[in-house]
Amino acid sequence: MTTAAVGTVHRATALAQALGRALRDAMAEDPSVHVLGEDVGTLGGVFRVTDGLAKEFGEDRCTDTPLAEAGILGAAVGMAMYGLRPVVEMQFDAFAYPAFEQLVSHVSRMRNRTRGALPMPITVRVPYGGGIGGVEHHSDSSEAYYLATPGLHVVAPATVADAYGLLRAAIASDDPVIFLEPKRLYWSKDGWDPERPEQVPGIGRAVVRRQGTSATLITYGPSVPVCMEAAEAAGAEGWDLEVIDLRSLVPFDEETVCASVRRTGRAVVVHESTGFGGPGGEIAARITERCFHHLEAPVLRVAGFDIPYPPPMLEKHQLPGVDRVLDAVARLQWESEWTSEGGVR
């Protein structure tokens, strides 16, 4: 294959395809990797992520299951007990809820319960988030539920390279990983080359996507491009924003985040999930605990409103966009305004 041809191919690799490639490569390397879920076989998944796997590896390796999410995840637990590495696809975020008991009471705890005897190397792929015009139940950002469950890793890629690299890492992990796939970025492309996949550090490492000095935007998944765009726009207003893509929420890369905030003194956490009880609270609280005396302003949050996910025709009002991010940045007390507030200091 000529370099030119590779170039043509790799510029065309969408995030969803990179995920498929990661599954394929993992299955080829390790016969214990099994994919299971609704429509993952013959159809290749409703987002075509598993396209071709059943053909290449057979239906026993990539299996269309009966329509029952608790059954799927529960069976995956048993398969993991027997030494397999199941990769489960949940068709949409909200359709992972039926499996919640299996997830919380077993997947997340089996290793601990058995003092290491029964690890759970299960990857649960969850297409998540909104912005695709999906009708009710197809646009939930459910990460708060997973964050609050010890024993799970929670990962959310934002680039094609991370999609590939983190999914490989998730499948290779001996622990259960909730792998949140930002639906709205499924068809995004960013020049990733499947023949020479760039090295992505393992789960638990954030990355500074843009360096800046004025303030830090902390985000993940589908909000990463939004923050990058906001950072570009902020330049015009004189702000030089740093953007951190967390990549994994658990483990949380406190080091990278705190190092940045200690430098910039200001931070905004951005995510699509509802604000109240969402990841932003944890992140903001943690930063404040660790970097309090470096903060020029409270850590602010830009998140979805605290409402059920809206119908498609109204979803644009729910999604944190560039304007809301910039509004929050503007509220980071750049002037002496706070001194006039009559506060204690």
């Binding site: 159809l43 009708v135 409103f305 025709m313």
Partner: protein, 391 residues
């Protein structure tokens, strides 16, 4: 006697005294799907009812086609057609009395329309407008339910509540073959049987759950055989024979109304279109299979019966088609108008009383909209609970 005191209420007894709770034999379904059309049994049917069913089938087929067309014009976000399943949809609607409740799944828009819902209101969810575009109480139609099988326990609860209140109400809940694999299916049927709730479960077995064929969904002799495990009768019916489905459902509804408890009905049918407009059915099934089913089309089956018995002629067929066209034209016309949604309504119905937190967030959105020069159409200062915009 309370609802829970059942005749012969079981007490555990050592095996010598053991008895089955009920005789399983009468619970088992027919050996093959019941057919009425084209059999002598069709002779006894009410011609007026048959005529009505015919009109509804033709209208329903046209509705499915028009709605699918609207997806191509961007007027619907998605449409899961029930093409080929119109007999189930129509029979479900017609088997109920006005005070009864229908619990549709996401594919059952047509059943809701046949029950009386405005064809446009029924599409509200699917056009991307508000999640439920009608007042469920108005026609006793629960919201179209997307999480599979989750509507079934709702139907049981509602039917049970009505019975406790002494009301004459039956609930009819629709679910697909795929949906029968969900735990909620199991729990709902079990509750219904234990509570002897007046509810009827209609499984439209259309052969597929998206791409997954029935063989990967179940190994049961038939889905109707699941009934015996709950202690309720199972019925198996040709889902493309509107008279047969109507008969079986009417019997089940009557049985429920008379205190006989729930019934599980499996209607064997076929989804002629793809899963939704976004699906590519050629990935998982052959044209030959589809064509085999086309020969068993629900409209054709009824048409054959009616024309054969002189109850329908060319004029009647034309009339039905014209009525369907009028419905389609009206649907097209009204669906082409942009609905006006009030963004501020996002905060209105989350709680009965808006929380301080939501008031604050509503104020933020209101300010954003004002700054962007698109103030809320019904901009009210308090954004408290208010009447829906179209009511």
């Amino acid at each position: 006697m309370t609802v829970l005191e059942q005749p012969g209420s079981y007490r555990p007894a050592p095996p010598p005294a053991w008895q089955p709770r009920t005789d399983p034999a009468p619970l088992l379904p027919e050996a093959e799907p019941l057919r009425v059309l084209g059999t002598p049994a069709a002779g006894g049917l009410d011609p007026v009812l048959l005529g009505r069913m015919y009109g509804e089938l033709v209208r329903g087929r046209r509705y499915n086609a028009q709605a699918t067309a609207l997806t191509r014009q961007g007027r619907l976000a998605v449409y899961p057609a029930s093409t080929g399943q119109e007999a189930c949809q129509v029979a479900a609607a017609l088997a109920l009395e006005p005070q009864d409740w229908l619990f549709p799944s996401y594919r059952d828009t047509l059943a809701a329309v046949a029950r009386g819902l405005d064809p446009v209101d029924a599409l509200t969810l699917l056009r991307g407008d508000w999640h439920t575009g009608y007042d469920p109480h108005e026609h006793r139609v629960a919201p179209l339910c997307t999480p599979l099988a989750t509507q079934l326990p709702h139907a049981v609860g509602l039917a049970h509540a009505a019975r406790l209140k002494g009301d004459d109400v039956v609930a009819l809940a629709l679910v697909g073959d795929g949906g029968t694999s969900e735990g909620d299916f199991h729990e709902a049927l079990n509750f219904a049987a234990v509570w002897r709730a007046p509810v009827v479960f209609l499984v439209q077995n259309n052969g597929f759950a998206i791409s997954v064929p029935l063989a990967k969904q179940t190994a049961a002799p038939s889905l109707a055989h699941k009934a015996v495990g709950y202690g309720m009768p199972g019925r198996l019916v040709d889902g493309n024979d509107v008279a047969a489905v109507h008969q079986v459902l009417t019997e089940a509804v009557r049985h429920a109304r008379n205190g006989g408890g729930p019934t599980l009905v499996e209607a064997v049918t076929y989804r002629m279109d793809a899963h939704t407009n976004a699906d590519d059915a050629t990935r998982y099934r052959s044209d030959a299979e589809v064509e085999a089913w086309r020969a068993h089309d629900p409209i054709a089956l009824l048409e054959r019966e009616l024309t054969g018995r002189g109850l329908l002629d060319e004029a009647g067929i034309r009339e039905a088609r014209e009525a369907a066209e009028r419905m389609a034209a009206d649907l097209r016309e009204r669906m082409n108008r942009d609905p006006v949604l009030d963004p501020m309504e996002l905060f209105t119905h989350v709680y009965a009383e808006q929380t301080a937190q939501l008031r604050e967030q509503a104020a933020q959105l209101r300010a954003e909209l004002a700054a962007a020069g698109e103030p809320s159409p019904a901009c009210r200062e308090d954004d408290g609970p208010q009447e829906g915009r179209r009511r």
